[in-house]
């Protein structure tokens, strides 16, 4: 091992990255951009759902019922529609996400003690969103029915309205969300750090190495006495460093402007992020040794990172809810472990005691990739 040779390669790499405008932005601007784009493009929050109402009854009672939906902060009232015919194109065009149809005789039926029927049309193209909307509609309808019943009871039994309500609902459920009290986007932000660190370092590393293969500059290494280990350390360390710096920048953005809570230890987070950066840059390294053109390297990287990130990382759905095959896949990629780690540190204040297993998995992963890089890199090649 010649330290001077490793330093020569690392500093050359650093000069190239900082001087090439395209490469510089790929290294430092793109990760930040990704974070911003995902932050504002991605939302688990279902709010302001466009709402239309068809009121065939047109009585005080039906307006009162409709007003419960219109005034809800979850819905964005777009207006009354004249009939169901009008709703079709509005729902199909996405202008309305939910429609409430109140039939004629709504008030009369209620007054007569007959069951009144109301229809809710929900855009079901996004199942989870549709489920959430259905939940809102059911809750509002339930509240309206309860109110109606309480009024009846209070009138007929001569008790106060609040008394009637208590009697009608003997068991009351109190829900408290832990770690993220408002069930807002807090839990998304640490996950985004994972997404960006999973996508950007492999791309940067793979392109950085493969472009030398494409230009022929890699022959300077092949034909020199640089050893495999020296090459890997010298060429690869700037990319780990850059990815690590990015992790810190993303952390600052998360806890600063994005207002995410950070309840765990910073030092533990730094250590985990460094290992994860080595993991994902390592994916880029292995790709770069297998691909011979920049285009194929980019395609490889995107397939290897985007798909796992969106499905098997715990970004959109918990790994526990995947089927058995999916869970196995999830355990084979490093994203899942890091998701657990960031969620644990940011929101749950967890530390080494709880998360050491995940960190160990990442360490194993990083070492395996380095080893693969070492054995795949050949200075005397067959083609």
């Amino acid at each position: 091992m010649e330290i001077s040779r490793i330093a020569a390669m690392a500093s050359k790499e650093w000069l190239e990255i900082t001087r090439d405008r395209l490469f510089f932005s790929l290294a430092f601007i793109v990760p930040l951009m990704l974070m911003l784009i995902f932050r504002f493009g991605f939302s688990f929050d279902v709010r302001n759902i466009p709402l239309a109402v068809v009121d065939y009854d047109g009585t005080a009672c039906s307006r009162d019922y409709a007003y419960r939906f219109i005034s809800s902060r979850y819905f964005d009232f777009k207006g009354y529609a004249q009939g169901e015919r009008q709703l079709g194109p509005l729902l199909a065009g996405g202008k309305v996400g939910v429609a409430i149809i109140i039939p004629a005789n709504f008030q009369r039926d209620l007054a007569a003690g007959l069951p009144a029927r109301v229809q809710a049309l929900i855009d079901g193209t996004f199942p989870s969103r549709a489920q959430t909307i259905k939940g809102f509609v059911l809750a509002i309808n339930g509240a309206a029915s309860l109110q109606r019943m309480a009024e009846n009871v209070s009138r007929t039994r001569g008790v106060s309205l609040s008394m009637a309500r208590r009697q009608l609902q003997p068991v009351r459920l109190e829900v408290r969300y832990l770690f993220d009290q408002s069930v807002s986007d807090w839990s998304l932000i640490p996950r985004l750090i994972m997404v960006v660190l999973m996508v950007s370092p492999p791309l940067l590393t793979a392109v950085g190495i493969v472009r030398e293969k494409e230009s022929g500059a890699i022959y300077n290494i092949y034909s020199s006495t640089v050893s495999r280990g020296e090459f890997l350390l010298g060429k690869f360390s700037p990319y780990i460093a850059i990815s690590f710096v990015n992790a810190m920048v993303l952390w600052a953005v998360a806890v600063g402007p994005f207002g995410a809570p950070f309840r765990g230890g910073l030092f533990f987070f730094i250590a985990c992020s460094f290992v994860f950066a080595a993991c994902t840059a390592g994916i880029g390294l292995v790709v770069s040794l297998l691909a011979s053109t920049q285009v194929s390297a980019i395609v490889f990287c995107l397939i290897l990172t985007f798909v796992p990130v969106s499905v098997y990382s715990g970004l959109l759905m918990p790994v526990a809810s995947l089927d058995a095959a999916g869970r196995i896949q999830a355990h084979l990629i490093p994203a899942m472990y890091y998701t657990d780690i960031v969620i644990g540190i940011f929101l749950k204040g967890a530390g080494v005691g709880v998360l050491w297993g995940r960190l160990a998995a990442l360490l194993v992963y990083a070492s395996a990739l380095m080893a693969a890089g070492y054995f795949l890199f050949r200075k005397r090649r067959a083609a």
Partner: protein
Amino acid sequence: MGKSPVVKGMDPVISVREFTKDYKSVRAVRGVSFDVMPGEIYGLIGPDGAGKSSLLKAAAGVLSYNGGQIRVFGGIVCSERAAERIKPRIGFMPQGLGLNLYPELSVEENIDFFARLMLVSRAALAERKERLLAITRLERFRQRRVRHLSGGMRQKLGLACTLIHEPELLILDEPTTGVDPVSRRDFWAILAELLQGGRTALISTSYMDEASRFYRMSMLYEGRIIAGGEPSDVLKTVPGSIVSLRCDDPERAAGRLKAVFRQAAVFGREVRVFAKGASPDEAAARVSGALSGLDVKDIRCSEPELEDVFIAIMQEKGFLQTEGPAMPPVPRGEQAARRAISSGIAIEARNLVRDFGSFRAVDNVSFQVRQGEIFGLLGANGAGKTTVIKMLTGIMPPTSGMGWVAGADMRRAGREIRENIGYMSQFFSLYNDLTVAENIRLYAGIYGLSARRARSRAEWILQMAGLRGYESSLAGRMPVGMRQRLALGCSLVHSPAILFLDEPTSGVDPVGRRHFWDILFTLANREGVAILVTTHYMLEAGHCGRLALMHAGRIIADAPPRDLRLAVQEKAGPVLELEVEDPFRALELIKGAGLTGAALWGRRIHILSRDPELALSRSRRALLPPGLKILGYSVRPPDTEDVFVYHVLAMEGREKAA
């Protein structure tokens, strides 16, 4: 040559025995053997795909091989471990002009990086860097980033970086491809200087005319050595004389000559015959005899060049069965050129300028191409040739200046122009996953040919390009020469009157190139097609009816090649070639005697002089005191490269004076 430059009894630096290399199922090199002795410049000459790069890489220890053996410095290179042992003593420069350099780093940073990679001590680096920068004349540019260097400067920097650890053996893969002739000469001079002190070099090239730069060489074709030895000996393997003549009906003359001599080719109005085994007088007499009754002028005899010998050997070894594709006549009503352009001027460029930011790629270029003329644009990579073509074909707007193609203004009549022209780029623009027939059909569809016409044109193209029987072969799987002719055919599918060819013959072997030129001459002579062709092959440029030399965006001379040569010969004189003992010392002595234009060519010395007799006697006198003998000499007219270099130097001289 009198004395072998190679000292007998010494161990070779590189010894290659029965070397074989496969890429998957393709055998790229088939049992090649040769030795490179200490202190010599050994050349590997051949077209793309001949196996040169495989051999060089294997010798440099960066490529494994399938059979045979390579010994470097006595050790067998057969594993990564064995290869590591020889690497400190080798300098390897891969193919591609300065592509192994780091474009974002400055000249000096590049040299420093290579030095640190090879563990050169600080003190040694400081001293060597100054010396190398001085020899390559890059001192003034040490802070400049490589991306802003010209091709010639990159090439010299590449050489400096390769030499920074003072390797005993230099392995250079096509170091001169695409470099302008001035830089090319410079390169060889610098290399000669740097190799002093017993260094050995193994160098590949695809330029046949560079053979004389080598002490010894091997000529490669499709993975085999087809000839080897000292360049002069290789020339002697097929003895004979070249007879060239001018004739009003060159095709008829060539037809008769081919029956007698087999190797006869038409270059415009000129016919060139290789009379094997004949002395010059005999050859001239036999040629005159064969052509009795035809109007023949200017019969000249010369020694065969390496390209002639290459073709002769290929014929002998049976690599060439056919005499090349035969050009079928074009059915009536389809002859594009007969829709004659009234003025007779097919292409005109007037004061064309194109800037890219602050860089002027094309600088005030003007020329005319007549109907039926082959007009050559000769220049290095980056001289501005492709930009000129892009402007004339309406693909790129000029910064200023005008251009007309087939009488239509290039700035307005884009569509009209495209219907009248055929365009073939250096990348052939074929669809590699389509078959030959499908490619032709596709182009016929693009130009909106009727089904009937498309069929008749396809027939014509297959015949013209000699591709009959290959209709259902995939374009990507065919050899370069065939792909090139298919691309030409596709660009001719709509019978255009004007043809733009952008470096159409890069990397094609001499035989393929000659076939290609046969087609071009027929198109021009018989169909009256105007052809604008760009090239960086000096030999090929000589075939054009008219030649414009392009350098740094400007046209520095424009005339028929013969006139260009004669003009330079008149102004600067012919070339005196000296064969001497100890050429390095001899060159210094000759330069010291005031003949500053003297340059080293392999082991010979070239002097451009108006009075070769005087130059010869002055050289003799200069070599007398140390007792160096002149073993032989000859005087020959300047060739296209001499012409190019003369004009560039003259231009630079004028600019310095101004």
